[in-house]
């Protein structure tokens, strides 16, 4: 009952994350674009009551690969790794205060960049400029508002119901 009521938040949030990832940005702001998809996936893995796991992350990643035109499997792999680590520490993370969560997310996003760089290196694809390493910082700063927003969206329906 309650899950059915909240079901719209998940696809909408994923779609919005995809759109935000695709949104054309000025050249200068491009490197600062946070990895929205990772943030959304992280939220659902942490707060999704255990139903959204590696398969969810993989699916979203494949979708993102198709949408962004990156190598098929690249983002799928990154998100799967992210989701796996989050699942491992899910129980701890759930009881962290939001700022601490943000720090952990920042670390995960940084790790994601490392994975990304590794994939690029392994595939012989040119590396992204160094400025792209600033994105995890932005993502970390965005985590608290995003978390509060998604939580309120998810829970307001529940209260109303």
């Amino acid at each position: 009952m309650r899950r059915a009521r909240n079901s719209w938040v998940l696809p909408v949030s994923v779609l919005l994350a995809l759109l935000l990832g695709l949104l054309p940005l000025p050249e200068l702001l491009q490197p600062l674009r946070p990895y929205w998809l990772a943030l959304v996936v992280a939220y659902w893995v942490i707060e999704g009551e255990g139903r959204q796991g590696l398969g969810f992350a993989f699916g979203v990643g494949l979708l993102a690969d198709l949408a962004f035109g990156s190598l098929l499997g690249e983002q799928a792999m990154r998100l799967v790794i992210l989701a796996f680590i989050l699942q491992r520490f899910r129980n701890q993370l759930r009881f962290f205060p939001v700022p601490q969560q943000a720090l952990a997310i920042g670390g995960l996003l940084l790790n994601d960049r490392v994975v990304n760089a590794a994939v690029h290196l392994a595939m012989g694809i040119p590396q992204l400029p160094w400025s792209y390493w600033l994105a995890p910082l932005i993502g970390m700063l965005l985590w608290p508002p995003l978390f509060v927003l998604l939580d309120s969206l998810r829970l307001s329906r529940r209260k109303a119901g």
Partner: protein, 322 residues
């Protein structure tokens, strides 16, 4: 919030296995996509499905651009509007002038018809130069003896008599205007037939009418036409309208001011009258630069032999005889 059962150990193992499986699939896809071509087709299919997403993602920037373009377009429109308004004003002014031209044209045609009834040929001559000086009121026409212009011809325009030809060169001719201080023209009052002489006084808008006997039946507003006396000007052409009449210094005569009906200081063309010449065949007149009027070659029975001969002659000789 309390709903968070601790993951069992076996779940950890299963999770790791699933991670490995997903990683294997990802790497497989990566390698396949990077090195092989067989995925490109699937990709193309997927791209079609992704079109709406891309369209959505591009929407904000497109909207922004549209708004920007609209703003620019608005500015351009305002500018255009301003410019077009100005152009409309100019065009209206032009139109008004053309209407004036059309009206003048009509008057000229009416006059041509009138002169044609009196069996007088007219020649349209463009004005080359205007000399409107208090002591010299002259026009230079772009028509000379080569076109058959000769000294003594009367010059008219849509309104009435303008003056007379006082000199010609092969290609140009000089008109002494009514308004020249040296010019005088015999006139009669249409209403009463009183004969008077109107003098120029060096002003383009006023003629002088001196020495009117106190007893003569003349009033302001009377229309003056050429009387034909003196033989220089054919009778019946309007000269002017009396504007004022006042006793002169001696109190023995009246002095009047006459507003010429001809537009002395306006227009680009004048008509040269040529009395006593029968109308030429229309073709010949056109060829010679004579304005064609819709007159027949031989009108009625009152055509004199010379006119008839001229009319019957082939175009070339008629044209050559000035």
């Amino acid at each position: 919030m309390s709903y968070s059962p601790a993951a069992p150990r076996s779940g950890d193992v299963a999770g790791t296995l699933r991670l490995l499986a997903f990683l294997a699939i990802s790497v497989g896809l990566l390698v396949a996509d990077h090195h092989g071509e067989w995925l490109s087709r699937a990709r193309a299919q997927a791209n079609v499905a992704m079109q709406p997403l891309w369209w959505l993602a591009g929407l904000p920037s497109r909207l922004g651009r549209n708004v920007r373009e609209d703003a620019v377009t608005r500015g351009l429109l305002a500018e255009d509007n301003h410019r077009l308004r100005n152009e409309l004003l100019v065009a209206n002014a032009r139109l008004a002038r053309m209407q004036a031209d059309a009206a003048e044209n009509q008057r000229l045609r009416a006059m041509l018809d009138a002169t044609d009834d009196g069996r007088m040929d007219v020649q349209l001559a463009p004005i080359l130069d205007i000399d409107l000086d208090p002591t010299r009121q002259r026009l230079t026409l772009r028509a000379g003896s080569r076109e058959g212009v000769h000294v003594g011809q009367s010059v008219i325009d849509a309104g009435g008599v303008l003056g007379q030809i006082i000199g010609t060169t092969p290609t140009t001719s000089t008109v002494l205007l009514l308004t020249d201080p040296d010019h005088a023209i015999p006139v009669e009052v249409v209403r009463t037939g009183v004969r008077l002489i109107v003098y120029g006084q060096g002003r383009a808008d006023l003629l002088r009418l001196p020495n009117v006997p106190l007893s003569s039946d003349v009033e302001p507003g009377d229309v003056l036409v050429t009387s034909g006396l003196g033989g220089r000007f054919p009778p019946g052409f309007p000269v002017g309208r009396i504007a004022t009449l006042a006793p002169d210094d001696s109190r023995a005569f009246l002095v009047g001011e006459v507003m010429p009906t001809a537009q002395i200081d306006r227009g680009r063309d004048v008509l040269l009258l040529r009395e006593g010449r029968g109308p030429l065949p229309a073709v010949a007149r056109r060829a010679a630069g004579w304005t064609a009027v819709g007159a027949g070659v031989a009108r009625g029975g009152d055509v004199d032999p010379a006119t008839a001969a001229a009319a019957a002659a082939p175009a070339a000789p008629a044209e050559a005889a000035p």
